[in-house]
Symmetry: C2
Subunit: 633 residues, 2 copies
C-alpha cells in the first residue's frame, strides 16, 4: 500500500547513518504525491511570507469528434497542503538541524526578547544529564519570550487592528486561489446553519475572526518552523491527529515518523500525547521538525514527573511543565481546568465514569485533597504564562461522555459552563482559546452540543473528538466517529480530532494513522461542502470530471489517497492498458453506465436530443406531469 511513498522516501533521503533511537531522514516517508508540485505564494504585505500549496497536474480530455481526436487541456487543481517541506523534493531536509524557518520574522520581532537558555528547572536538569546525550536533539533552538509589558499574541494583535504575517499567511493558505482559467467553479450554495460564511478569505477577515475570539491561530513564538494555519468556523474544517509513545511502546524515531506520516495524509495539527519515557527529548525532536502546530496535554508530563501518582501533583510541577513546553515551542495546551470538584458527584452514576485521561487524573487529585482543581484556582497564572509565548488554550473536556448513554449529561454540561467562564478570562488576558468537545454522542444530540458551546463560550472555536455516534463498532471507530465528525463539522465545529480503527482496543500503527486521517479529511471536506467554504467543491468537480472521462490516472491523483485508489483499481485490472480503458472491472465493458452515457453525448445523439428538447419546450411546460398512458411516442 505504501510502495510509492516508501520509494519516494528512499529517493529523497540523504545518506546520513541512523543512530539507534533518534530519527533520521531514512526513517521518514517523504517525497511528493503523484503528479503534484509544491507551489509557494508570497505575501503582498509581508514579502517573507511564503505560503505552500499543492498543484495536481492533470492530463488532457480526449474526445472523438467526427472521427478526429480533440485534446482539451485540464487546468491543474490547487489543494490545501499540510505536508510541509517533507513533500517538497526541493526542500532541504536535515532532521538534526530542524526544518527551515517558515516564520523568519520572529528573529527580529521587536516585542520579543531572546532568553539566554531555558528557564524551566526541569529542562535545565534534563540538559545537564550526560546519559541523555544520545537522545537529545542536537540542533540549535533559540528561546524567546514576550518582553515585559508587551502583548504578542495573535489575539492581542488582532484586537489592536494589526494584521500579522501569520494572518496574511493563513489568508492566502485558506483562499486557495485556482488558476484563472479554472473551469470547475460550480458549487452548490452552502448552508452554514445560521452562520454567515465569508465570501472571500482576506487577511482582514482573518484578523476580525481572531479579534472576536471566533478563530485561533496557534503559533508559539518558539515554533518558527511552523507554517501558520487557522482554526475557526469561517474557515476550512481542520483535522488533528494524535501521536505519542506510551509506557507500553516507545521510540523517538517512530514518533517523528508518525508526525511526518500524519501530516502527509492531511493532519492540520498534531497532538503529542506521549506518556512514556523521554517525553521532553521526543517533543524537542518533534517540534523542531514540525511544520504544523503541536498540541500537548501538560498534565501528562507533570504526572510522569511525580511518579505517576495523581495525588502528588502540585501547581509548581505543573507550572514548570507549562514553561518547559512553551519554551520548546508547543503551540497549544489542553488544560482540564473545567474538571471542578463540584462536578464530580455528577459522574458517579454514569455508565462509563470519566474517560478523559486528564480529567480522571484531576478528578483523582481533587478527591484525594478534597480541594478545587488547581488548574482552576491557578487559571489566571496559566493564562499569563501562555500569553508570554502565544500558546493557545484548548480547554479540555475532562468530563466528556465515554458512551452513548452518558452523552449530553449534567456532568458534561456543568463542565462546559465552567469552560465558558474560563474562555472569557483567557480571552481577557489575551490568550487564544478553543474548546474541546465530545466524545460519544448519538446523531440527534449533536446539535445541542454545538448550540450550548456556541452560547456559553461566545463562539470560541469548538474542537471535538469525533464524536462517535454509536458504541457498538470497536475496530471501526474511525467510521463511527467520522459520521459524527462530518455532521458536527457542518454544524460549526472548527477542528476534528481523529479517531483510528484501534480506538478502545490498542495503539494505532502507521496504517491506522493513515486510515484515521483520511477518514477525517473526508469528513472535514464533507463539512466544508455543506457549510459552503468558497471553492471547496473544485476538487470534487475535477475528480468527477476525470471519472466521467475515464481519465483514471487523474482520478487516482486527485484522490485524498492516490496510492490506495490506484492499488484498489489494479487489484482487479492490473494491466497498464486498463488505465485508459473506457470501463472498469465493476461492470465490465457492456454494462458501463459511464460509457453508455458518453455514447448518449456523442454529437449526433446530442443533436437529436436538442431537437427533442426544442420540441418539448415548444409543446408547453407540462412535460413531466402527464400520466403514463398519455406520452407514449
Amino acid at each position: 500500500m505504501t510502495n510509492t511513498t516508501e520509494r519516494a522516501a528512499r529517493t529523497e533521503s540523504s545518506a546520513r547513518a541512523p543512530t539507534s533511537q533518534t530519527p533520521t531522514e531514512q526513517t521518514l516517508t517523504t517525497g511528493p504525491f503523484p503528479a503534484s508540485r509544491k507551489v509557494y505564494t508570497p505575501g503582498t504585505r509581508y514579502p517573507d511570507v511564503r505560503v505552500p500549496h499543492r498543484e495536481i497536474d492533470l492530463t488532457p480530455t480526449v474526445e472523438m469528434i467526427g472521427g478526429l481526436a480533440r485534446h482539451t487541456p485540464n487546468p491543474s487543481v490547487r489543494v490545501y497542503d499540510t505536508g510541509g517541506p517533507y513533500t517538497d523534493p526541493d526542500a532541504p531536509l536535515d532532521l538534526h538541524a530542524g526544518l527551515p524557518h517558515a516564520r523568519p520574522w520572529l528573529h527580529n520581532h521587536p516585542d520579543l526578547h531572546t532568553l539566554p537558555g531555558a528557564t524551566s528547572a526541569y529542562t535545565r536538569a534534563q540538559n545537564a544529564r550526560a546519559d541523555l546525550a544520545d537522545l537529545r536533539y542536537p540542533g540549535a533552538h533559540t528561546i524567546r519570550r514576550a518582553r515585559a509589558g508587551r502583548t504578542i499574541t495573535q489575539l492581542q494583535a488582532a484586537r489592536a487592528g494589526v494584521i500579522t504575517p501569520e494572518m496574511e499567511f493563513v489568508a492566502i493558505r485558506e483562499a486557495l486561489r485556482q488558476a484563472e482559467a479554472f473551469e470547475l467553479r460550480h458549487q452548490h450554495p452552502g448552508n452554514a446553519l445560521g452562520f454567515q460564511m465569508p465570501r472571500e478569505i482576506t487577511p482582514e477577515v482573518v484578523r476580525a475572526e481572531i479579534a472576536r475570539g471566533r478563530a485561533v491561530l496557534p503559533a508559539n513564538i518558539n515554533h518558527p518552523e511552523l507554517e501558520p494555519m487557522i482554526i475557526g468556523r469561517a474557515f476550512r474544517v481542520k483535522v488533528n491527529a494524535n501521536i505519542g509513545n506510551s509506557a507500553v511502546k516507545a521510540s523517538v524515531a517512530d514518533e517523528v515518523e508518525k508526525l511526518v506520516w500524519a501530516t502527509r495524509w492531511g493532519a492540520d495539527t498534531v497532538m503529542d500525547l506521549s506518556t512514556g519515557k523521554h517525553i521532553h527529548q521526543t517533543r524537542e525532536w518533534i517540534v523542531r521538525n514540525s511544520a504544523v502546530p503541536i498540541g500537548t496535554v501538560p498534565i501528562y508530563q507533570a504526572l510522569e514527573k511525580v511518579g505517576g501518582v495523581p495525588e502528588a501533583l502540585t501547581w509548581d510541577v505543573y507550572r514548570d511543565t507549562l514553561i518547559e513546553q512553551a519554551e520548546q515551542g508547543v503551540d497549544y495546551f489542553t488544560v482540564h481546568a473545567g474538571v471542578r470538584l463540584a462536578h464530580l458527584p455528577l459522574t458517579v452514576r454514569r455508565r462509563t465514569g470519566i474517560v478523559s485521561r486528564g480529567g480522571s487524573i484531576l478528578a483523582r487529585w481533587c478527591l484525594a485533597h478534597h480541594q478545587e482543581n488547581f488548574l482552576y484556582t491557578h487559571f489566571r497564572e496559566i493564562c499569563e504564562i501562555m500569553a508570554a509565548f502565544d500558546v493557545t488554550f484548548s480547554l479540555g473536556d475532562g468530563l466528556r461522555p465515554g458512551s452513548i448513554e452518558d452523552a449530553n449529561d449534567a456532568a458534561q454540561f456543568a463542565e462546559l459552563d465552567t469552560l465558558g467562564e474560563l474562555t472569557k478570562i483567557a480571552q481577557e488576558l489575551g490568550v487564544q482559546t478553543m474548546i474541546e468537545g465530545p466524545g460519544h454522542v448519538p446523531l440527534h444530540l449533536l446539535q445541542e452540543n454545538v448550540d450550548r458551546q456556541l452560547q456559553v463560550c461566545g463562539e470560541a472555536p469548538f474542537y471535538t473528538l469525533g464524536p462517535l455516534v454509536t458504541d457498538v463498532a470497536p475496530a471501526y471507530d474511525h467510521i463511527t466517529s467520522a459520521v459524527g465528525a462530518a455532521v458536527i463539522g457542518w454544524m460549526g465545529v472548527s477542528m476534528l480530532c481523529y479517531v483510528t480503527p484501534k480506538e478502545h482496543l490498542g495503539l494505532p500503527d502507521k496504517n491506522d494513522v493513515r486510515d484515521g486521517v483520511i477518514a477525517y479529511r473526508l469528513a472535514a471536506h464533507a463539512a466544508d461542502l455543506a457549510k459552503g467554504v468558497p471553492g471547496a467543491q473544485a476538487r470534487d468537480n475535477a475528480i468527477s470530471k476525470a471519472r466521467f472521462e475515464f481519465r483514471w490516472e487523474d482520478q487516482f491523483n486527485l484522490a485524498l489517497d492516490p496510492e490506495r485508489a490506484r492499488a484498489f483499481h489494479d487489484a482487479t485490472l492490473p494491466a497498464e492498458a486498463a488505465k485508459t480503458a473506457h470501463f472498469c472491472s465493476m461492470c465490465g465493458p457492456h454494462f458501463c453506465s459511464m460509457k453508455l452515457s458518453h455514447d448518449l453525448r456523442a454529437d449526433d445523439v446530442l443533436l437529436g436530443l436538442q431537437d427533442k428538447a426544442r420540441e418539448f419546450r415548444e409543446g408547453g411546460g407540462e412535460l413531466y406531469r402527464s400520466a403514463p398512458e398519455e406520452v407514449t411516442t
Copy 2:
C-alpha cells in the same frame, strides 16, 4: 482476520466433495459468532412461525468490595440476526437441497396454485440444455403463482385487515425482546424528525404500516426459504449488500459464498447484480440458499439475452425475464420505469451524465428508438406479473446524480416525480413498492431528497445508495457514503444500499464486502439510535458497561465485528492475561482513565463524594456559576 469463521466453516461443513464450479458447504463461511447462541421465538398467532435472534452471553461483573470479590451476572444481549441457518450450528446445511423452509405455510396456501413447471420460455430453454447440467442447481423447487382472481401480496392482505404469518414473523423479529431482568434499558428519547415512531412493534403495527404503503415486506411466494423482514421508516434501518459476477470475474461458488458472507456480517437483503455468464443458474443457487430477500435488476439479464445491445431490447424479452426471475423466487425487482425520454435532455449538461447502469441502458434504448421507455409504457403489465408472485418494486433511480455537482438537479427530481406517479399505480394494483434514491449528495442537500421523496411517493419506503457526501475519496467510499447513509437513515430512509471501499475502482473482494457491510450496519444503527427505535441502545449500553468494567471478551463479543475487535486488541497486547487487564495498550496502566475512574468509584471515595454532594446541595444551587477565585476549598 477471518480465522475464527474459517475454522468454524471447517467444523460445520459436511464431507461433500466439491465440484468444479458449483458451491459446496466447504466453500462457505459458517458457524456461530463467539459466545453467541441462536434462539428461536415461536409465533402466537401462527405456531409454525419461528423467528431467529442471536443471544450474546456475557461474563459476570467482578467487583472488589471490602476485599471480597463480588460476582454479578450480566444478562445476555439479544440482537437482530441476519445470518440465517448458516450461523446456527444445529441447522442442517445442504446447499444442493437448499435451506429449510422458514415459510412452510406457503405449501398449502389456498390462494396459490402450483405450476407444473416454469412458464418462462427462457427458463425452459435453459433447462433443456444438456451442457449446463453441471452448473444447474440440483434440488427441487416448486413454482407457485396466485390463483386467478386471488390477491396474495402482503399489501393486499394488509389492506384487507389480515395479519399474515410473515407479518407476525417480522413483528417478533423487530421487537427484539430482551430478557425480563434486562438492566440496560436506558435510552435517549429519539428525534425522528416529525415522524411518530411506534412505541412497540406489534403484528398490527406491521400490518398497518404495510397497508398504508409506508413499509414493504419483500417475500416472493416462490422463496419459502426466506426469513421475512420488513423495510419501513417505523422499523430498524436495513442494509442491502450487492453481489454478482461480471464479465470480468465470474464463479457460481464465489457468488453463493458472497451471499453467506454478506448476511453473516449483517446484510438484511442481497441484490444479485450479475452481468456475467450463467446468470440464471447462479441465481437459482442463490435464492434456494438465501434466508434474506434477493433483489435483482431484470434489465441486466434481459440485455445479456439480446447480446448486450441496448437497442435490441424488447418488451417480450423483458417480460419473460420478469417471469423467469419471479418463478425462481426473486423478492424485489429494480425497475427503471422513471427514465423517461422527456427527462434525458436534462442530463446532457451534467458533470457525470447517467451513472446508473439500468438508467443508461434504458436511456440508450429510448434515444435509439425515439420512443418512451418501454418499462413506463408497460408499467401496468409489469405490476400484474409482480402481483401474481408478490415481488416488491424497487423503483430505480436511473437518473440519480453520480457526482456532488449533479446532486438534486432537474433530471433527478423529474424522475422522482415520475416515480411518485408510478408508486400510486403500483400500490393500486397491490404491488408493494419502495423507491431508490441517490447516490452522491452533499450533507446539506440530503434533507431535500427525503422531503421530496416523502411528498411525491406518499411515504413509500426510501432506499438510498449511500449517499456519498463527497467525491474526493475513492478507496474510502464506504466511509464517505456511510456518513450520508447514517444521516439520511435518521431523516427517514428505510434501507441503505452499501458501498464498498472498491466503489468507482474495481470489484469488491470478501474483505471489501465485510468492510462495506459493517460500515453500513454501524450507520444504520446510528440512525436507529437517532430516530429512537425502541431498545436500540441496549447493545451500546452493554458494550459500554463491558468496556468500563474491563470485560474485554464481552466487549469483543458485543462488537459488530468481534473478530476484528479482538485482533486489533491482540496486535498490541497479545497475551491472554491482557484480556483481563484493567488497562490497555492505548494509555498503559498509569494513565488509564477508566482505571482511575474506577478508583473514584471505590466505596470509600464514593461515600466521600456523597457527603460532598450533600454539602453542595445544602449549600444552595449555584455551584457551577461562581468565579474561579471564590470556590477554592
